[in-house]
């Protein structure tokens, strides 16, 4: 498999600056994220403290960032990264589309609201799952609920319906839902997961459903789930001044490392993270020579 020097996750100011710095240092990079850039960039109202760009709106910044990327010939791989696993001297990366390998990883995927439902963590692996494509065949003939946070998850519900006896789909968004026939779409909000040794019920705002499994499919997974073994500190990834995490070769930058949540701070950390990854790669090469 092709091995990248640096895999960067996130297309906000942190990830983008990391990509640009790594590219300038001639590293072979892959940048994962939304091709239209982080929603937080697009939707920003007005940013007054970004150096050199007074009174910049989100749309202006988005355009300026995209122009910068195309000038540097940096492409965005528009896939959702679902798992990053440290293999020793490299990382194995699984995305919605494919598997990749990289010597270092820079996490710049922003801050995800860390809220989970009562019972969700208790029953993880005992009826609660985050990966329908992984576990669907284990639910043959069973009753499951898919809680989809974006319309992209409708495909997962369709996949699940090929195996499960009964599928409930709970859209956590307002858009019209398009799922295959037989899937019951329910516009209620989950409240908690209950059961004994394993999941037995999903309690919602309107009712309670007897079932065997609940799949929570969120926009992004928490950093600790994304990278098994990653050390966290009160909901943020723990880093030092060089943006190193507790896992050798894994760096983090931007909102994911903690407050202040500012564009210029995120970009600055992206720069530091990329330079630290470059030093790490140099050390790795020297150790192998």
């Amino acid at each position: 498999m092709e091995r990248y020097d640096i895999a960067i996750v996130g297309t906000g100011p942190a990830g983008l600056e990391a990509a640009i710095t790594a590219k300038i240092r001639n590293k072979k990079i892959i940048l994962f994220g939304s091709a239209a850039l982080s929603e937080k960039v697009q939707k920003a109202h007005l940013i007054k403290n970004y150096l050199g760009l007074p009174e910049a709106g989100g749309a202006d910044l988005q355009k300026a960032f995209l122009d910068h990327l195309s000038q540097m010939e940096i492409a965005i791989t528009d896939e959702k990264v679902t798992l990053i696993y440290p293999m020793g001297d490299y990382f194995s990366i699984q995305s919605s589309g494919d598997m990749y390998e990289a010597s270092t990883v820079i996490l710049g995927a922003g801050m995800v609201p860390g809220k989970t439902y009562p019972g969700e963590e208790t029953y993880l692996g005992r009826g609660v799952s985050y990966c329908a494509t992984c576990d669907a065949p284990l639910y043959r003939e069973k009753t499951v609920a898919i809680v989809g946070f974006t319309p992209k998850e409708e495909a997962e519900a369709d996949f699940m319906a090929e195996y499960a006896g009964k599928v409930y789909y709970f859209p956590m968004y307002k858009d019209e839902v398009h799922v295959r026939e037989g899937i019951e779409v329910i516009r209620e909000k989950p409240v908690s997961v209950e059961g004994g040794m394993k999941v037995e019920k999903l309690i919602t705002t309107g009712s309670a459903y007897d079932l065997d499994g609940v799949f929570f499919l969120r926009e992004s997974v928490s950093p600790g789930q994304l990278v098994p073994g990653l050390e966290m500190d009160e909901g943020h990834v723990k880093v030092d001044r060089s943006m190193k995490t507790n896992i050798p070769g894994c760096f983090a930058c931007g909102d994911i490392t903690g407050q202040p949540y500012q564009y210029i701070k995120a970009a600055g950390e992206g720069n530091v993270a990329a330079l630290s990854a470059v030093s790490y790669l140099d050390a790795l090469r020297r150790a192998k020579a």
Binding site: L83, S92, Q94, G125, C131, T133, K198, G229
Partner: protein, 102 residues
């Protein structure tokens, strides 16, 4: 040590009656995270002489998966003296897997 393929037929002899602790990896060919975890489990099997590593393909052995309530894969279960003593679900760092065996 080589990895043993565990089936319902050899489960009793290879796992329950094993004189060494057995690390059993429940996996399937369609599961991406299982593919990531698998080489690490193999590595642990090679590095630790005092344990045994077994693999259960949940597609081929749904009975074993049911018996041990495997509802998410990869799942790792450690058996000692004929009993399941430790379990972990999902992809785990290598140290965490080694810790299951301690």
């Amino acid at each position: 040590m080589a990895v043993t393929v565990i089936t319902e037929a050899n489960f009793e002899n290879e796992v329950l009656k094993s004189d060494k602790p057995v690390l059993v990896d429940f996996w399937a060919s369609w599961c991406g995270p299982c593919k990531m975890l698998s080489p690490v489990v193999d590595q642990i099997g090679e590095e630790m002489a005092d344990i045994k590593v077994g693999k259960v393909n949940v597609d081929e052995e749904p009975g074993l998966a049911r018996q041990f309530n495997v509802m998410s894969i990869p799942t790792l279960i450690v058996f000692k003296d004929g009993k399941a003593v430790n379990m972990s679900v999902g992809v785990q760092p290598k140290d965490a897997i080694v810790a299951l065996l301690k």
